[in-house]
Subunit: 116 residues, 2 copies
């Protein structure tokens, strides 16, 4: 088996930095494709393909406006990523560093003489 498709879920879709950049731009408002092309300095097909991936995972919505296609962020698709990663926040949050130290000591004490 190869790697999971980029369209499998939001995790795979935003693994690509370009696609995160696209979302960052769309976070400031709706944009046609050509705006993204200029702002990112990518080729037009490249941007269209990235947008397709983002569409397939639901991270962007499109709306036709004449010959332009207006893309809009749908950040709800990113919620699973936030939900997963937020559980790790305490590990790097200064506020919890001291608590973590205490917990580790307790664990080791209860562990029956482990040193290290």
């Amino acid at each position: 088996m190869a790697r999971a498709a980029t369209t499998t879920d939001a995790f795979n879709a935003v693994a690509e930095a370009r696609r995160r950049q696209i979302l960052d731009i769309l976070a400031t408002g709706e944009r046609p494709v050509n705006d993204l092309v200029r702002l990112l300095g990518l080729s037009q097909p490249q941007v269209s393909k990235h947008l397709r991936v983002l569409r397939e995972v639901g991270a962007v919505d499109v709306r036709d406006e004449g010959r332009r296609r207006m893309y809009r962020l749908n950040a709800h698709a990113l919620k699973p990523i936030h939900d997963w990663v937020k559980n790790y926040e305490r590990s790097w949050s200064e506020r919890f560093d001291r608590l973590d130290g205490v917990l580790e000591e307790l664990e080791e004490e209860g562990d029956g003489g482990g040193d290290e």
Copy 2:
């Protein structure tokens, strides 16, 4: 060019669900490889290879203990993911839904013939 290597950064590393599962288990405490093999129902080489990816992006640390290798979470490597995705949180947070509506209206109103 192909897709970025899984070891490029944390985003690519955790795009694989198995690796997120591994981190979830390690979040409960240090574990030898065989624990992960049993808990995940994966083959041992598979787990070792996933662990290598997680090591290369700094998401886990290892410690030798006899013939076992104890793996430990290093959640700090996940901070960039959290930092990126947290900026989108307001989009799905109920508390901000009403505010978003207001902001969008303001944007549209002010958009009378804007530049670009």
